[in-house]
Symmetry: D2
Subunit: 337 residues, 4 copies
């Protein structure tokens, strides 16, 4: 950690700071110059509160040199995390394709879509039973019944299911789900993160609409600090000034996450753009950039979907896309060999 | 609602759309031109799902003419909402000053600060017992004990208390709190919003870091749709590309909210900027722009605060500021008369 | 164009607006409802000033249904624009690879790099002679001499050159350049856009750091309105809250531009990210998303480059990447057949 | 300057870096720890290129401790800059009010408005002769004729004039203007900045739509490095995700600029918001936050303005506002005494 002091720092406060740091087994290297004095702190600085130090009268700024996350940090866990889900896995060279409707609407609907996407090559079934909706007057999801329909679809197809948990009070209902999804709006719902950290199902954390890479990894760290190491990251677009697309899909997140962490990363082009004709090109781009998988909305009747129809693909369009994605993924693996 | 169709829309789909709308008692006015065909929908369009219509093959875009919020809408409730809290009120020409520490740390601390801020002119005591922290390794607040200390401070000073609720499971503990605060990270925690909508304490909703005005008002609408009309809005800075300040304080939110809604609006310059030397000028600016009040962090020892020290004022600095704010508020009222 | 009126519009002003529009050969369709009155304007509305109409007392909002750009609009020019440059072309299924140093530093440097990138598969040479630098104290480019060195490199390799024009006073020097680049900071330097619209060399317009798709296309329209139809678009990252990368590369711009316009689109992953280890994955992603080409910084000694070293690839790294890009491009074409 | 090295840096490269720095009379303080090695560079680091150092294989990151601007830096020029313009001044406790039409449309128009705003208390006349417009088909300003009309209005009223220069080729026409304005879109038109730095009229630089504080100050530094120390800053809103207002007015820029620089700062609430009903509250807020002045659009017929009507005030509305602003400014000065 580096501490830059203001000009002519008060000597007493300076001595106080140094001795306080030394009490914590931190070695302080001082660089005196024309301009600012700079302190280099060496030792286990992970427990030091940067805000506290920055608040001192004599301090101008503080910079952490080490990342504030440990469990999620690639430096301490160089091997890729591979997560087993049902008879498939996420990470480790597999291309995961999670497909299904935004909302579960009926048993028939979800079973029909599950069969279709499985035939096209999907490896997991997605579908929302509890739906976060901006308006209190919009359809809020089928809830527990929706979870039951998803399980029926799993039984019919063998596809593991991933579905969103909105509040920790719903956790008991998620006992038989394969992957618990934490939505973008809940990425910093810290009580919810703690709760899923204390159970053992894999957790997929969607990036908040204005979350930095570090904040996103700190949310993963919340889950992992509770004991659950099976965390998956999902980029679904960030909020920018551009409103032609719903959000701006940040594909740089893929190689950045590959560098900073060992956790797998999934891309959701459907929510990122809000337009179904953008799903195909961006899904292809995501695979070529190195994503571990995709989450894609598929609906057998997008025009009458109860939620987010405009971003859903029809099963036949998804079929074409899924085949292209798998071919691309294979040819990229050949290229890397 | 206005529906813009694509060029040469399929006649069957067009007829289908029009008759579907007429079934819902919507009158459809059609404008045919060189370019696009435009439909003007007249009637109660509030129940129509814009996403569903936008997803139709023949539709290019849909524009709502009416706001999607009702309870919070100034058009239907022209009178300002004034909220009684203890022996003070929020809105209605009063300048509310909520002051206190970011985190409650001890009974002595919070009582001492409460006494100091009351003497300076504060009308409410703020303080966090449950703290949303980016890192799982940071101090998470005193929890229920912190709430008890706040109540002691209220008893000693008569100041009503406002404090943050992070999860609906904590709600029973907030029975004796005066105003429940919903933090920026929970602005779209819809289960939490529903829960506070079904009880009767006033609720202050902080604007999410990347929430639009409309999304913010829709969160207020969630609470109000549950029956609780006592909602206060709080602007605390939005996330932009500028990182010198922690966030960018959007003071235009004050007159915009005054136009769109009847709910009172509070400004939090401490969290918005993250720097205590910016609190004074921006608090003054907020009052002159027409805010109903301020939320300001005050700590008797900012350099050793357990949370967010750099943005806290010392009691003596707050004292000077509070007196200036009250004088400014008075002189502005004279100016308007 | 759609005009939404306020409640109870003044009848005289309403009549005045309608007759003013009819004088301009606009047919006005009126929809009266419970809430707002809506006017649908049919005819050639491209000359109407939306700001002027929006400013009327009786008007609540105005929405254009047609895009404000014509020459650049795919609707009026369905065929892809293909631009001939030297013995290569941009667009039309070719993968253009523009490679070279950020700044031209010496004849030896630029010739050596040009030879290397040509051998690897680059189709054009990029290099800056006039450099836009944030600091007045930073290296500002070799200017006219730099242009001469680029021409030498072209002579040695046959690669056409693309280089940035910063001010219209420099235009005479660009007579023998192949493609004129307009930098992101000059995307709305309208006098410069007019100047390059009145000459006939192809112009590549980089997207401004906070430019919307529409503003970017309007800048293309400035050039095209002057008579020059040879315009290329280049996405180089937009400014967002995320600062780990220099900018956020918006790959959705590729399919969006393919839909809205007939102009070719190039991606610059070097400037977008500012980190050379991100160039490879994002260049691959750009090709798979459908880009017409890439602009990539290559330097034979990145650690001692006079400008933007951290984002430059070494020739050997570029060689590996260029081969992968060409293989990917070929296999994607097979996939589409 | 602080240089953080990667783990286990190559010893040869490390020695090379240290001796290269020592050759430049930089003293290097090395802090070795468990984690990263940190170098503190002491001496005149202003000429060191951070990008070059950051590009070295052994370097993880570089942090400047000193600001890259000198002439504009408050640390080296503690006294406020006060700029004389005609018989008024900008800065030094005066409240400057620049008012007038967005575009000069006719002599009658600008003279009438000039007389009106002078009577209300304006101290300078603003008006555009050369207009930056997003569309090539929109009104581009009266050009040289517009400048003549402004001079007539100055003669009639005594108000100094401020007007925008769009390209350096127009500079000779600006010989008799009082303050040259550089627009937001030209904030990083470095050739233009150099040109106005080599003449002696005061220059007002509007903040770019996505410019950081530091970039804005570096643009001021460009002008000052050329010899012209009479620079004024103007905040006019930054681009964010919120589109209800045209831009987001960043009033924190006022105290931040007061701390970082000695240059005066003006606020433009008209362009920032794009809505005339937001001008009054935000102008009041700007004065209370400590602005040196305001730039406000006034038009005698906003509904028929050739440009930006919706954000212009009518003279009678401006009159009320100007009186309130001056009263507020006076009462704040009393408060500070």
């Amino acid at each position: 950690m580096i501490v830059v002091l203001k000009h002519n720092p008060n000597q007493d406060q300076f001595d106080g700071l140094v001795s306080w740091l030394q009490d914590k087994n931190i070695t302080v290297h001082t660089s005196l110059g024309h301009g600012n004095t700079v302190l280099g702190l060496v030792g286990d600085t992970s427990k030091l509160d940067t805000d506290l130090i920055a608040a001192l009268d004599i301090v101008e700024s503080v910079k952490r040199v080490q990342e504030p996350y440990k469990n999620a940090n690639r430096k301490f866990h160089p091997e890729d995390t591979v997560i087993k889900v049902g008879n498939t896995q996420i990470g480790g060279g597999t291309l995961t394709i999670m497909a299904g409707p935004c909302s579960v609407e009926s048993e028939d609907q979800v079973v029909a879509i599950a069969k279709a996407v499985k035939a096209s090559g999907a490896t997991m079934l997605r579908g929302g039973a509890f739906k976060p909706r901006t308006s209190p007057y919009a359809f809020q999801g089928l809830g527990a019944t929706g979870l039951e329909y998803l399980k029926v679809a799993r039984q019919e197809t063998g596809l593991p299911i991933v579905t969103e948990l909105m509040d920790l009070s719903q956790l008991p209902l998620f006992d038989d789900v394969d992957v618990i999804q934490i939505g973008a709006r809940n990425m910093q719902n810290f009580d919810l993160l703690k709760a899923v950290g204390h159970q053992d199902k894999p957790v997929m954390i969607k990036r908040g609409m204005s979350a930095t890479y570090e904040e996103w990894l700190m949310s993963a760290e919340y889950v992992m600090a509770g004991g659950n190491q099976n965390v998956i990251l999902c980029e679904r677009g960030i909020r920018t000034f551009e409103h032609y697309t719903r959000n701006t899909l940040d594909l740089a997140a893929i190689p950045v996450m590959k560098k900073l962490t060992h956790l797998p990363i999934i891309i959701d082009p459907s929510h990122a753009t809000g337009k179904n004709w953008l799903v195909d090109p961006l899904a292809m781009g995501a695979v070529a950039t190195g994503a571990d998988g995709l989450q894609i909305e598929v609906h057998n009747d997008p025009a009458h979907a109860l939620c987010d129809g405009p971003q859903s693909l029809k099963p036949e369009t998804f079929d074409t896309l899924a085949r292209k994605l798998l071919t691309l993924h294979n040819s990229l693996q050949t290229l890397e060999d």
